[in-house]
Amino acid sequence: MIKTPYINPFSNDAKEIVSRLGQVDTLDKRNDSLMVIVNHTRGQNLNDPHTLPETLKGLALARFEWFLFRKTSETQEKKYEYLFNPEIYEYDVVSFYLLCQAVAIKFGPDSHEAKMVLDCEEEIISQRLEILKAEPNDFQSSFLRKALNQLIDTNNIYWTDLKEVLDLGKLDINELLLSNGRLVLEYEDFIAEYGDLIHNRDPRTMYEVTAGVRIKSKLLLGLIRLYTKQYIETVYEMSKRMVEPNQILLDLADDIKEAQQKAQSLKYGVAGSSNYIDDKPINYELEAFPPCVRKCMDGIKSGGRNDAIVLFLTPFVSYSRLCPGIFSRQEQNIKISDVDPSLDITLNEIIPMIYDAAESCSPPLFKDQPQEKININSKLGFGLHSELKLDNEGETHWYTPMSCEKIKLHMPHLCTPSIDCKKIGNPLTFYNRKRRLMKKDNENRQVEENGD
């Protein structure tokens, strides 16, 4: 039987569990009943007994490790099977709070580690909700209702109460059924609101298709992510007033860092894959440019010339030449001189390409708006100056290419997606992916030619 805290660590039951089992002195002590659950989990890989958690602190670290290593191999996934055994729910809740506290105290709410904990929690709950799908629809629906009602009133909630959840970007407002601002989430409300509009179709099916379990799950995931984020922020604020943080939490934070570094070296240590996530200059491959960039380079014929050239093209053209792998780097706050110390590439290739596109606009951009040259320099990180000088670098930030979502809103006329744009979130990602595919194609062609 799945208990609510297994899915929702912010439920009342979960809070009760934490006050019962969360005594500091027990967190780092061997916990036999936890070990029994772990060892008796169906499908659990027991080949490496020393990797199985024996303490609540160990379980907290295991949650994080699962998130980091789950995709490396199937055996890795099986190593953490116990996380998906509903019987573990009590210890799981305590370990969740432990993980949040360790990250909040040592790294803070805006850290990469805190973001990973948020992603980790979302992923774990998401997988557990998948397990829930094996249950009958009625059970799922009432379970989710119970879990959600510990956080909101599912019969009386307005979309404006969910602004912070929507802001997380995981749930879109157009997925919600709204009536006078109220969110229609439960079946009885759905029937009361829309029952009269449904003819010749099964209302229950219509409900499940447009809302139902799918939206409830998404909303629950969003709320848990939001509450986790807020919890980490609260702990961080409290920790600033603490004389000395608990050593167990500090140790756990160190273990988290170590695991993260190990995952990183596994990810980037593999030869071959880094060719297309470069963080050093590489020559342009114009054929791999996305449609929006090509359109912009052909010149903007109607309104929006400034934004297209300055805000959109300048970051893309500079990053695609100097550091196409910027989004894969942990440290994204880099300067042009870090990758082009003499500014040769910037002055001889990047600036001419931007100016050519500006010249192709109708009317040519600099003809009536010469000040935009300064703006271009500013977006490259060289402040508001008419010349690119290393002395001025850092006065402004080197803008990263804007996301597809932002382009659609800011410059909808630029976005004419091609088939390759599917599932792409940023033009630079398109470029990197396309280069990889083009190289693969070339290699295949060469093999075929050699074969002939």
């Binding site: 157009n174 499940e208 809103l409």
Partner: protein
Amino acid sequence: MEIELKPASNYERKIFYREEWDVKDVPDFVMDSLTSREFGFDHFGQGPNDRYKTFQDALRLKRFIKAKQPFASYCSVAYYDNPKQRKGWQKSELVFDVDAKDIPIRTCDCKEGEVCDICLNQAKEIVLMIRDVLKGEMGLKNINMVYSGRGYHVRVIDDNVMEASSELRGQIVQYVIGAKQPDLTNSLGFTNLQHFIIPFGYSKNFTKWSKYTILHLTKDSKLDNVNKKLLNDVIKHRDVLKDDLWGAFRADVGPRRFEKVMAAVSRINMNITDTKVSIDLKRILRLPSTLHSKVSMKSTLIKNIETFDPFDDAVPNFVFERK
């Protein structure tokens, strides 16, 4: 009398601000938050470059405008602790900007940049549709409509939405103008669901806007990935949509081609308002009551949109005195 939308002369501007403009015509929603807003002015018709202006009271605003007789006047949609430096952002109105000259599905013969009563009327229809969604589905209150001179502004002063981030505003705009194809993936495994069979929620909204767009397409309309032949077929078969016979329309056009058309239509919908304005938290918008000097029209707070006619209600007196 036919109203000609031509620029106001310096003399006409002077006359307007001296004899006709009254600070009492500035809407309450601006005056009530006067000290929190940034004002911007365009004195020479080259864009609003006199910015970061603030006014402590109506008298000072009145004195400034009467003395300067600006080419164009603007005020921020944002409220600040310190508007003079644009610091301490508190909240912003939620704004929709429908400019008649930029409507992608204009049915009139206007040249680029021009407006006429036909496209202004179309802008009004669009604004009414926006208002209905904001009021009905979104449940928002205090929705103000302003005639801007060449189109309309919808300005929502509802605290429930004024603190929304730029990203959330982006989502709201997409919802309100049906700018995204509904995601109908579902756990029940129905793969051929169509938005038009769902008579509620966002699907209904998307269907309504798409119908409007398709019914206003012309042979010269430009739709991404839709060639001339398909556009002509859409125009040929679209009349069934007047009776909401979407299934018949889809069958006539062909299911695959229908998909193409709907993807293109959603992108047209996106251009119905200037989305940049809606997501910009620090935008300045034309100050209602002041003159749009490029077309000699008054930006006017609308009391009753159904009966509002810009050529009756937003024409400054000096236009009637022109020879």
